[in-house]
Subunit: 341 residues, 4 copies
């Protein structure tokens, strides 16, 4: 199969770098265009980027001349890891010119006609596109916390129903991009607030767990409350989650639902999405963030809660499964559904 | 006033060192005896202790010859910062010999005849001692998380009643003592479990908020659920707390209750126990752990919760207010009530 | 004595905040003017500053309206903690208008007519000012590493002479200001380079140890080589130093020289400038950075070196003794010499 | 080729776990025996070990019953990652019984008849074994700092000669094993001393660079001085190194020597042992520790030194190249030389 040429909007940022790394040897896609702001345009990617990945820049990408946003692009498929400040305008611009934008930005996530998709969870929400093949469109993945939370809760939601979810986050600094969090703010410290994060969590998960009906998504009815914190961890968001199910079940049923949650037949979907630990000290970001090459999530320390029914710990890789990997998986899902041409 | 001679059981440990530091210039007490395990006994304190305080060892203490546990002691008043493994036996031994033991250990906290006391909260629980002056007895302070939580919640409990409390903790490494948490376990990491901690939190706060009645404490009826984590912070436990009050009130009333909560006229009780921040990024351990010389607590980021009524962030110094300072304050409270002789 | 009114240029930055904290209860000085860039001008200090000190903003300062650089100022004495990018122009502007500028910026440190002064080391370099009382002038303190290094080496230089000094630094993040070092660059990491730092160290120490002669400073002749690193420490620069003395002496003589190095009779000069540890594990930033309220330095682990004569560890507080405190001490030194009016 | 059965002495420790991980899919070796102290003996490996690797325990190893030290063992080839306290006695015991011990312990490194070997550097020192095939013997790898230092300096030593080497280390916590460094000692801190480390560095490198002659190694004559520090980094020792060469050369010649230093044709020897960075901010542990799967080293920031000729930064993985990987490579080297049977 000839690889599909793709472009990356916001290619020099943290998520852009991760996209390039994940796509370096991708079986279906090949990065042909890298797009960034005006000040980098015209220069070879390698001469401009402050590369932060431990893997080296792929040689081909290093030489690519950076195009600037709003330039005309040859690739139909565009990944967008643009900053929230510019994403809305730039993404709309390319959609109008017939491109498919696979976006990690939050701008269009809650737009009624834009699918917010995790293929293993609500891949059928692509119906919003009405089998669209002629025009451009946007497909988005959720916020990094929501991604991890949704993968952990979806098997429970589907099997037993969910009434209430309380999530307390301990989020890694890489989630804020680069330079992002100042070292003087986080070394040996905790910051008990992340702007806009709690609102995103409460809303996006309801759309993800919603039902397609008559050209729109009916949001799920779950009470979700989030308390967000930044901690001195590099990669990996750790969540303490308490929840109430509709159907009352025992812990074995919960763990079984997690263990039975299988991946899709897509290159970036891990065969086992969830690893459950019997060890109450797990998961931990240091040890578990790379489970399933960063595309799986880990869960542990399930125990009864005296207020909601259950409590547990959930961990996922915020820049892989929670951002760049989520976009790549969405692109694979589009291709598998024949929506990319 | 002639200072009251006191001894310290477990004088070489982390909390023992903090006790010595806090008592160095205390207006009422003077440390005359330091007690540790057999292997240190007979040597000068300064030659044995692995001192970790930033303030130097007081000269007098440095020279003191260490006595060993179960040795006969001259001081009636003994502070105990013994390990849980030996505290029960050693403390009971000294009580039987007529000593008053002000204990930071957990062993006797839930014993029906032992007061578990925070002077500003439930100082009247000393009634359990029946004005005891002839025999020995024990008085205890709560676990470090419970201390911080109780100070924040008590003004609400007293004014509006509390139904449910959900607390997520991000606890400093100093709470585990020395050597305690291995650096390989916590550098750039989160550990989502602390042995026995969640159970202590749920129980101790009910005794603290309980009512003395007929020679015992009737526990308060609040549903409390805790989720505990260790984070790479040196000093300062940060709590995300969500709660439901009995009387439904607005945020101004909550903040007013906190601001009106005043300290006692005791040397270690701060005049303002609670500092409330309007800034949603506060409190933070780096900036706020030493509020009121570590004897006050700080609160911020109060906002409505869609599951329980309210959520906020609470911070306190785990080895000062949460341990050594708590014991010193209890000793002052005993003296103020004439129970030390 | 009526306090001397002073202004602070660059009052909202990290060093400016530390200056305000150190001057809050200063016996000689009172901050009357705070000066910052145009975008903060006209607003109350408290409404603009991103305060990072653990002590609260003094009430009076909180209300002060910020003036903008180049505004006319009433205080003759100005502290400057301006960024290197603007310091040269702004400081020169105020000198021309008759102000005395006590600068922490590097811009004028090596100017032949500007004293680079540590009062305990080369206070006599004020002779460069020729008893100047009518015109404005600048007096500077050295770079934060140089300050710590110079205090440690000066007693050796004076008593035994120095030939070669090799210094390897492990520098705290607060040395780079705020936001400064990105957390993604330093969490669990070491950065083996700090722009321009090695050059500053090699040059400034030679001027400090130089001799006033005929209206200029003859630089000292010592070979100095520096290797600079940033490490994940909040406050406190740790130096590994190896050196060769001119006169060959034993370790007792070295330690005696350090112990005999006394402070000046100035409010901010500690009586013991240097604390020497026999413990080879000290000094450590966590334990020792605040020695002498951050105005002293600590030394330990002295041992023979097979290449240069000796090696040891030196530690000092980079934002107190190495920056804001250095400037305050210089101001005190000026006043003690009657040069402030 | 049938795989060679090997045993691991000290299999539950940090280095033992890394050995098991590195040998999991090794083309030549298969772990058949795991040996630990008496308290673990008789139990399945997986039930006893506090596994700290991010990769899971290989299934086969998980089930292996732990043997205790001094038990009779079937594997001729034994890896030893025993603690210094027991290594000497245990290793000698097995040598007397005809085993070949590939040791990471320091006990026998300087013994005149024991090869201290880095295959790429002094593989010919195996001559000390006189082609030994009938009796048991020991072969050792150097200390973790020495390993990194030797790989960086050997190409210079061989091509230009070395006179003096000064090395300042910033060492990761994993170098101290588990539990090793207490978090209270290292969070946000630097410890300027590591017991015995400076002595090991100065001595071992002279043996490594020595010459086999008449059944012993004539040590190299280089002046080496080390200054060792522990820093809050997880994996990766960063070295600031200054050195004087015998032949005076330019920086291009130095870099060329590094770039031309090639690996051996052994499974664990990387084709490029050294990566040199033009970027003066590199190498950094966060970004570069895994170069060559942790078996290569990285160098950067080469610049002239005013005291010794040159200074630069060197980084290597302390538990891979500096310990477990070094032992595996030594075993491969033995096999390639036919000395394992």
């Amino acid at each position: 199969m000839k690889k599909i040429a793709v472009g990356i909007l916001g290619a020099t940022g943290t998520v852009g770098q991760k996209l390039i790394t994940l796509l370096a040897d991708h079986p279906w896609f090949t990065v042909e265009e890298v797009v960034a702001s005006e000040k980098s345009a015209g220069k070879p990617y390698g001469s401009v980027v402050a590369w932060r990945e431990t893997q080296e820049i792929p040689k081909k990408i290093k030489q690519l001349e950076i195009k600037k946003v709003f330039d005309s692009l040859a690739s139909k498929l565009l990944f967008s890891s643009l900053d929230a400040t510019v994403a809305a305008a730039v993404e709309s611009h390319y959609v109008e010119r017939g491109h498919i934008v696979i976006s990690n930005a939050q701008s269009h996530r809650l737009h009624s006609q834009v699918p917010l998709v995790i293929p293993e969870v609500n891949g059928t929400h692509l119906q919003l596109l009405h089998g669209e093949r002629s025009r451009g469109f946007i497909i988005t993945n959720p916020n990094c916390v929501v991604m991890v939370l949704a993968l952990a809760l979806y098997p429970l939601f589907k099997n037993f129903g969910l009434e209430k979810v309380m999530v307390h986050t301990m989020q890694a600094v890489s989630g804020a991009g680069y330079p992002g969090v100042a070292s003087m703010d986080i070394l040996g410290n905790v910051i008990p607030h992340i702007d806009g994060e709690e609102e995103k969590i409460s809303r996006e998960i309801l759309k993800l767990f919603g039902t397609y009906c008559d050209r729109k998504i009916d949001f799920a009815a779950i009470k979700v409350s989030a308390l967000c914190n930044r901690v001195p961890v590099f990669h990996g968001h750790t969540l303490n989650v308490a929840f109430t199910t509709v159907e009352k079940i025992d812990s074995e049923a919960l763990v079984a639902a997690w263990k039975n949650f299988k991946g899709l037949d897509l290159p970036s979907s891990p065969s086992n999405i969830i690893r459950y630990f019997d060890d109450c000290h797990r998961p931990q970001p240091r040890l578990d963030v790379n489970f399933g090459n960063g595309m799986g999530i880990t869960i542990g320390n399930l125990r009864p809660c005296s207020i909601l029914d259950w409590k547990c710990t959930i961990l996922g890789h915020n820049t892989v499964r929670g951002a760049a990997g989520a976009a790549v998986l969405n692109a694979e899902h589009l291709v598998a559904n024949g929506l990319h041409t």
